[in-house]
Amino acid sequence: MTRVNPVRRLRSVRAGPDPGSEPADVLARVGTGDSTAFDQFYDLTIALTYGIVVKVMRDPAMAEEVVQEVYVEIWRLAPRYDPAKGSARSWAATIAHRRAVDRVRSEEARRVREEKVERQSIAPYDTVAEEVSDRLERGRVTRALDTLSESQREAVTLAYFGGHTYREVAALLELPEGTVKTRIRDGLIKLRDAFGVTP
């Protein structure tokens, strides 16, 4: 399988070529119980995992709690990481995002978050959509997102950064669920192709 891995490509541009510090290699060492490698993997991925968790949760204290669980999970599961199933960074991001949305969807978190949103007097989808568009005004991702229709971009960002199910997105946007499902799928296909993620 010759996969162009955009995540790793981004990293290697930033970090320079050093095979020993590739996240996948570090994660493989974590899987052998190497706590030094775990520290290294934390340093390599913490901005990514915390960034997405705090984006979804919008509460730094709760986000840190969740990130703590994320890294315990990374430690537990590292022996079973399989590079054929994706890059180490996307593996970590997947665990982090899943934990964040599961926490957000638990009733307590939902209540806290909604109160917070009410205090800010901003509709939740507006907040997320605006934040996301503010923060995504740069680089490759922006250009990729530009290839999406406005409605696809809205559906993808509300789902991923807003932590909403597609059903919730449909309710927020007052659209049929099937429409939102299709927009998410079409949007993600366009992004996948724009990012060069191909099998």
Binding site: L10, Y50, G51, L77, R135, V141
Partner: protein, 232 residues
């Protein structure tokens, strides 16, 4: 249904499915080449989006995590390939059917065998060795549990490590998740974080397991949120 499942890979990769659809899709996609490939691709795509929201937590977090990790045991890498594939693809569901039963016994026996010394150890072993034993991994905010069920023996063994105490005058209750509704499957409590409990259960067509925290003595119906969940 299957046709619809094929179109859920994108929403799944964004964690935008509700729990029922997530479970249904996780049961489907490892058996479907197209969906498996799409899940990998869409997760990579989502991770590129995540790269744009990088942020740093407080510096103290690393020490707290180090501390907890130093007390946490890693999962065994020695599972057979089929099991590894299931467990990495389906974090919420690891179902091992009869073909893998021997491997299951080896793995669980190897990890836990030395720890089992209750008077019902023989019965626990018998459940693990049962040809129809089905192992489910339950996940939740309170760590992880494994449930081994032998329908022929009408018995279930619950395994867990680092499971926090349920609270004063409270107990954990295991539930069968049925096609419609739930049915009680028994009570258990951790002993210093560890759970090794044998339960006698009704003969039901369980689709999954759920665990809630209930008042001492248990409840007829769940009275709190599910704290662990997994598919059978």
């Amino acid at each position: 249904m299957t046709d619809q499942l094929h179109h859920l890979a994108a929403a799944y990769a964004l964690d935008a499915l509700d729990i029922d659809e997530r479970r249904a899709f996780e049961a489907h996609y490892p058996t479907c080449d197209i969906c498996s490939r799409e899940v990998v691709e869409f997760r990579e795509t989502a991770a590129v989006l995540a790269e744009q929201s990088q942020a740093m937590p407080s510096p103290e977090l690393k020490d707290r995590i180090r501390d907890e990790v130093s007390r946490t045991r890693q999962l065994s890498p020695l599972l057979p390939e089929s099991v590894v594939r299931l467990s990495t693809r389906r974090p919420w569901r690891t179902t091992l059917l009869m073909g893998a039963a021997a491997a299951v016994i080896l793995v669980i026996g190897g990890v836990l065998g030395a720890l089992l010394n209750s008077s019902r150890t023989d019965d626990i072993d018998a459940v693990l060795a049962a040809p129809d034993a089905v192992v489910s991994s339950l996940d939740g905010d309170r760590g992880s549990l494994q449930v081994v069920w032998s329908p022929d023996r009408s018995q279930v063994v619950v395994f867990g490590n680092d499971v926090p105490a349920p609270g004063p005058a409270q107990t954990y209750e295991l539930w069968f998740l049925l096609d419609e509704g739930v049915a009680p499957a028994g009570l258990f409590d951790p002993d210093d974080g560890r759970v090794r409990v044998l339960l006698d259960v009704d003969d039901l067509d369980g689709r999954g397991w759920g665990v809630t925290i209930e008042p001492e003595g248990g409840s007829e119906m769940p009275t709190s949120d599910i704290v662990f969940v997994g598919e059978i």
